[in-house]
Structures are given as C-alpha cells and as structure tokens.
C-alpha cells in the first residue's frame, strides 16, 4: 500500500510498500491491510502507526484529520498537523521539541516583522519630512 500523510503546508509522509496500518477514530482503533475496501473516516487526535516494507513500525501523531483508503492500495490522511517519529516511547518528546521550535520560529518571525514595520515607518517619515517642509499647505 502507499501511505501519504498530508498537512496544508507539507507532505509529511509519502511511503510505498506499507504492509499494515493502525489508526484511531472517535469509535476506537482500527487496522487496515492491503486490499481493504474503500473507507473514509475522520480521525481523532491520536497516533497513526504502520509497518513499512522493511518490517519496521513507524509512528506519526496527527491532530484529527480525514482518513481515506482508495482502491485498497492507497491510504491518504489529510490532517491539520502531523509529527512523525521512530518510536512511540519518545514521540511525546519529539512533539514537544517540535512545538518549542515552532514557538521559537514564530517569535523570531514576529520580531523580524516588527523590525520591518518600524523600518518602513522610519523610511516613510524620512521621505515625507522634506516634502512637508517644501509644501506645508498641501498636506492637510
């Protein structure tokens, strides 16, 4: 089976040869094997796990999402947020680290955009001042 986990911003997982997959919707956990009938459900906030072609189980935390099996050979999960990880025991730390990094990035971006705004305002002021002196009566 081919598994794809998509968020609005990125393709988080795109893997062929998936042997089996487990996920959770509000009614509980379920498993999907190749040649499963077409299937559509909405996932809970949960952890999706699957066995790849190498026989190793991998995990991905998802924040809700739409889960669909297409033609028994393709699984697509469209979710708001997905954090992949190699081990369930350490996935919480991975998620926490990801959140921290995102907040840090957001903070930096915020500072940068504020700096940009101030720069623009300063520039406008600089451009307006000589004009103000030259044509005081035209501005108001």
């Amino acid at each position: 089976m081919r598994l794809r986990i998509l968020t609005p911003l990125a393709v988080v997982v795109d893997e062929a040869g998936v042997r089996a997959l487990r996920a959770e919707d509000p009614s509980g956990g379920f498993g999907i094997l190749p040649r499963h009938a077409g299937f559509l459900t909405s996932l809970a906030i949960s952890v999706v796990s699957w066995i790849g072609s190498d026989g190793i189980r991998r995990y991905c935390a998802v924040r809700r999402g739409v889960f669909s099996v297409i033609g028994g050979q393709e699984i697509v999960i469209a979710t708001r947020e997905a954090v992949p990880g190699a081990s369930l025991a350490t996935l919480d730390e991975t998620v926490l680290a990801r959140f921290r990094a995102e907040i840090e990035t957001e903070r930096t971006v915020h500072v940068e955009s504020t700096r940009l705004h101030l720069h623009a305002i300063r520039q406008i002021m600089r451009q307006l001042r000589p004009a103000q002196r030259g044509a005081t009566g035209m501005l108001p």
């Binding site: 809970a44 906030i45 949960s46 952890v47 935390a61 924040r63 947020e81 954090v83 369930l88 025991a89 350490t90 996935l91 919480d92 998620v95 926490l96 959140f99 921290r100 907040i103 903070r107 915020h110």
Partner: protein, 105 residues
C-alpha cells in the same frame, strides 16, 4: 503578552504547550506503550482474578444478607420472613456495586 513573561522563565511559557491535546494524546499513548513494554500483556491469571472480583462483589452481599436474615429469623423465630428479603436486598446491592465496578474498570 507571553513574550515578556514567558521568555526569561521557561515554566510559564511552556505551560500552554504542555496542555495541548495533541501532546497529551501522544503522552497517554506513549505511557501505555511503556507500560506494555514493562509488563507485557496481562496474564490469564490476572484476567481470571478480575472476573473473580466481579463474582465476589455480587456474592458477598448476598451471603451477608442470608447470614443476617438467618440470625434475625432465629432471634424472632419467624421462619423465612427475614432471610428471603435480605437475600434479595443483598443481590440488588451486589448487582449495583458490580455495575459501578464495571463502569470504573
């Protein structure tokens, strides 16, 4: 808002992240996984013990009802007048507490 207070101390700034439902869900599943790694699947004996507890929860109030009923009947010499209702009462209490126990387990 969180910038000036959250930046120097990591405590208050990290709180809203740790209350995130995604993180809590992952932590819950990670904890279950670690427990499974530690203890393995619950053994047959443990499952039987659980079922046994359910049985005792129902049976013990019934036995207590019979005991108290017999004692009262002997004291008053009234045949089965107290034993039968107290047996039924014990059954009701046992069923009710078994229901509560199942809901909590």
């Amino acid at each position: 808002m969180t910038g000036p207070t959250g930046a120097p101390a990591s405590g208050p700034g990290s709180d809203p992240i740790e209350r995130d439902p995604l993180l809590q869900g992952v932590q819950l599943r990670g904890e279950r996984h670690r427990r499974w790694l530690r203890e393995g699947d619950p053994s047959v004996a443990r499952r039987l013990a659980q079922i046994g507890v359910l049985g005792w929860i129902i049976v013990v109030p019934m036995l207590a009802g019979i005991f108290v009923g017999r004692w009262l009947d002997q004291a008053f010499g009234s045949g089965l007048f107290w034993t039968a209702p107290l047996l039924m009462l014990g059954l009701a209490i046992g069923g009710w507490s078994a229901w509560k126990w199942m809901a909590s387990a």
